[in-house]
């Protein structure tokens, strides 16, 4: 091989790998991402049943019903609209009524959101950013008392 051929082979190989990588990324960005929605957007019919999505909001007070099995039902609200959710599995430690949550799953034709994932919060002071934004959008955002910082000298 001449010097030029060697160089071209290398550049060709590099181009091929890069194109493959770009192709993979683009197709995955088309198919493999999940959109975040608020209960109001779900109620307004912005999402097709069967599409995988994330639903975020507050767990409505008094809505959590634990059966004797492993399925839990609760309602997620953004202060304006409410979506019923069914989840089979173990809820994260900091899942509470009146607290923010993010669930992932599909909406059924009946309007029930069947979640296969309820996202764990790591800290009681932490509010999922999407939830905070959804609440701000619906005008139900309140700064939590616990967030007041300590005064420094």
């Amino acid at each position: 091989m001449t010097r030029k051929q060697k160089r071209l082979t290398l550049i060709g190989l590099a181009g091929l790998v890069l194109m493959a990588a770009v192709g993979l990324v683009l197709s995955a960005l088309n198919d493999e991402i999940t959109f975040f929605t608020s209960p109001s957007e779900v109620i307004a019919g912005h999402v097709k049943p069967g599409t995988r999505l994330r639903l975020g909001g507050l767990v409505e007070e008094g809505s959590v019903k634990r059966g004797n099995g492993t399925t839990v039902e609760f309602r997620v609200t953004d202060g304006v609209n409410v979506v019923p959710v069914a989840y089979t599995g173990i809820l994260p430690d900091l899942f509470r009524e009146g607290q923010g949550t993010v669930t992932e799953g599909v909406i059924e034709p009946s309007g029930l959101f069947r979640a296969d994932t309820v996202l764990a919060k790591h800290d009681e002071r932490y509010m999922p950013k999407e939830v905070a934004d959804a609440l701000k959008a619906s005008g139900h955002w309140q700064e939590e008392a616990g967030k007041v910082p300590l005064k420094t000298k």
Binding site: A20, V25, D31, E32, A120
Partner: protein, 665 residues
């Protein structure tokens, strides 16, 4: 008083860093040996004062000095001592202090061990390192000062987030930072080389040990974090493709690419510009990781606090250093002497192949991590990019790379013979194929890709072993001769073997865990029995216990194997007193050495039943054992004679403007 000393020491460290960032570089430009010589002492002094500062904060945590805000917010007098110490870096301010202290440590190490570096290079490297240090000292002092006091100290602290109270998390951040910050040395060397406009093979030899050390720590840090997530979060997963995890994976991938391209540069004086670029990228991605984690643009366990001024400050640091170094690269790189060419099928070709795939994979992770942020900023749409995206991009990019790994070390430099390599790897390939077939036979009806994954993992393992077997002529010479040859083999060969073998072991664990794990979610009442895989699980009951700063509701399960052996597992729920925050404590039992039974319990229901999640995870431990083997491989390679005795000076001492020798093709 001690706290004020710590604060003052940090300001002194900043002052020294300012001197270090100006004087040596000025000296190097004007040829003033006296100014260049200031680099060493200022670097050592800077580390001394940063160390004093860090020690002072540690002291405040250890004695629970609740007049310090940082201690109040993250500590509790009843917290066990190990977590009082680890609580120092279990929060934003303290972890940034650890970051700068680590940076100062690396600077001091270069000053101490870099005696045989050319004076100009040493001055420039330490100068550039100090630029980074100044930026981060200012960040800590201006936006994240851990030494602030309270006028009226409370009598008790708010405690550390309970899920951070864990031995794994005690050592995860220091390891990770040693890795992140270790790449700053490679970065400083790269920028110094660009400033001088000159680079040669000796440069690669100086940079390699630092990169290798950083890589070893980063490997251990990531593995530790992954294992922590696995047993602490109670979800049974070990990698979530969480942006914060990706933030540590990207520098690791770029660092791995850098390690490999530096070999080409050192041995063949080729790929020089590319290696410089990778050195800049590896540290840029470390900075990006710090930005993503610390700025609060991502909300996760790592975002201890969200304060916009901090985010803007780190973003400014990020833009300055990444933008600055890349501009310098663009301006200077074309003027650097080019290296020799090589045939596509050669050791160099294999290493280029490695670099292509590693950087493409890094880019894929980069896009997946930042795309949601970009999209939200641009259109307001909120999306999440999770495991499916990375499975569809990162996975396919890794497969050809992993398949090629065993071939590389067998190929000759300059011009290799693929057929001869195939011949020497035939046995390894046969064994891997047989192993894959066996896996298929044992798990008929399971996922069809899994046996292929097993075969690939075995190919990596046997391929790595084959290299050493062939080099010591095991089986073809007398055992004594082989032994002598094995002793005489360079440590770097053993290091390569171990690192590649470790990748295989990790892959084996990943494949087995993903394909053949069994999950069981159910409600059990005391006395009930469940079956999972070959185990019989009996729920005995619930007991309440008390720990130093928590109360726990422990459940007791007996696990009976077909052989009759009984293992008791006690997953529990803890409620930490100070924050009234519940956590799930999983119970994990290891069987057959590497497989695990994993249990986590939910809430106790009114009728005494308990919702629980059980997993049987075959070969799961080999994921982390493989990482450990990789790290050991890196360490062994670090003790290689050519690195240990220090890099020799280049055969002829070139001056600036003196073109580096170009090897004949």
């Amino acid at each position: 008083m001690i706290v004020e000393i710590g604060h003052y020491a940090l300001i002194l460290a900043l002052a020294l860093a300012v001197l270090q960032s100006v004087l040596p570089v000025w000296g190097a430009r004007t040829g003033d040996a006296g100014l260049m010589a200031t680099a060493g002492p200022t670097a050592l002094g800077q580390f001394f004062f940063a160390g004093v500062s860090f020690a002072a904060l540690t002291w405040a945590h250890v004695v629970s000095d609740f007049s310090v805000v940082n201690v109040v917010e993250n500590s509790h007098s009843l917290k066990p001592m190990i977590y009082k110490v680890s609580g120092v870096w279990g929060n934003h301010e303290g972890s940034m202090l650890l970051w700068v202290t680590t940076l100062a440590l690396f600077g001091a190490l270069v000053a101490g061990f870099g005696r045989n570096l050319p004076a100009v290079l040493k001055a420039d490297v330490l100068g550039v390192q100090a630029w980074v240090a100044v930026a981060f000292y200012l960040f800590v002092l201006l936006t994240s000062n851990p030494f602030l006091r309270l006028p009226i100290p409370p009598i008790e602290g708010r405690d550390l987030n309970p899920i951070l109270q864990d031995p794994g998390l005690a050592i995860h951040p220091p390891l990770l930072y040693l890795g992140y910050v270790g790449f700053s040395i490679a970065f400083a060397f790269a920028v110094a080389a660009l400033m001088e406009g000159r680079i040669d093979a000796a440069w690669a030899r100086w940079v390699r040990p630092w990169t290798l050390a950083a890589w070893v720590f980063l490997t251990l840090g990531i593995a530790m974090g992954s294992y922590w997530a696995y047993y602490e979060l109670g979800w049974g997963g070990w990698w979530f493709w969480d942006p914060v995890e990706n933030a540590s994976l990207m520098p690791w991938l770029a660092g791995t690419a850098l390690l490999h391209s530096a070999i080409v540069m050192e041995k063949r004086d080729a790929l020089k510009i590319w290696t410089i670029l990778l050195a800049v990228l590896a540290f840029s991605l470390s900075l990006l990781g710090t930005f993503l984690v610390r700025s609060g643009v991502l909300t996760s366990v790592h975002a201890f606090a969200t304060d916009p001024t901090r985010g803007v400050f780190i973003l400014a640091i990020l833009v300055t250093f990444i933008g600055g170094s890349l501009s310098l690269f663009a301006a200077r790189a074309p003027g650097l002497a080019k290296g020799g060419l090589f045939a596509p099928i050669s050791r160099e070709g294999a290493l280029v192949f490695n670099n292509l795939f590693l950087t493409s994979a890094t880019a894929a992770v980069f896009v997946g991590t930042l795309y949601p942020l970009m999209l939200e900023a641009a259109t307001g749409a909120k999306i999440s990019v999770g495991a499916p995206f990375f499975d569809a991009t990162f996975g396919p990019l890794m497969v050809p790379l992993l398949f090629a790994v065993p071939l590389g070390p067998f190929l000759a430099w300059k011009r290799g013979d693929l057929l001869a390599v195939a011949e020497r790897l035939a046995v390894a390939f046969g064994l891997a194929f047989a192993g894959g077939l066996l896996a298929w036979w044992l798990t008929r009806g399971g996922p069809i890709l899994a046996p292929l994954g097993v075969a690939l993992a075995l190919w990596l393992i046997f391929g790595a072993l084959a290299e050493v077997v062939s080099r010591v002529k095991l089986f073809s010479e007398a055992p004594k001769t082989s032994f002598t040859r094995a002793v005489g083999l360079p440590r770097s060969v053993w290091g390569t073997m171990l690192a590649h073998l470790g990748v295989g072991v990790t892959l084996l664990g990943i494949v087995a865990e993903s394909a053949w794990k069994i999950e069981d979610i159910r409600v059990m009442r005391p006395g009930e029995t469940a079956r999972l895989s070959r185990f019989e699980v009996i729920f005995d009951g619930v007991a309440t216990r008390s720990g130093p700063n928590f109360v726990e509701t422990a459940t007791r399960f007996r696990v009976i194997e077909p052989s009759g052996r009984v293992t008791v597992m006690e997953p529990s729920k803890r409620v930490f007193r100070a924050r009234q925050m519940p956590t799930t404590e999983t119970a994990i039992a290891t069987f057959d050495g590497v497989s695990q039974l994993y249990m986590a319990v939910g809430e106790i229901q009114p009728d005494g039943g308990v919702a629980m999640r059980m997993y049987w995870k075959p070969l799961v431990l080999s994921i982390w054992i493989g990482c450990l083997i990789m790290a050991i491989g890196g360490t062994v390679s670090l003790t290689d004679r050519r690195l240990r005795i220090g890099a020799p000076r280049p055969s002829r001492v070139p001056r600036a403007g003196d073109a580096a020798p170009t090897p004949a093709e």
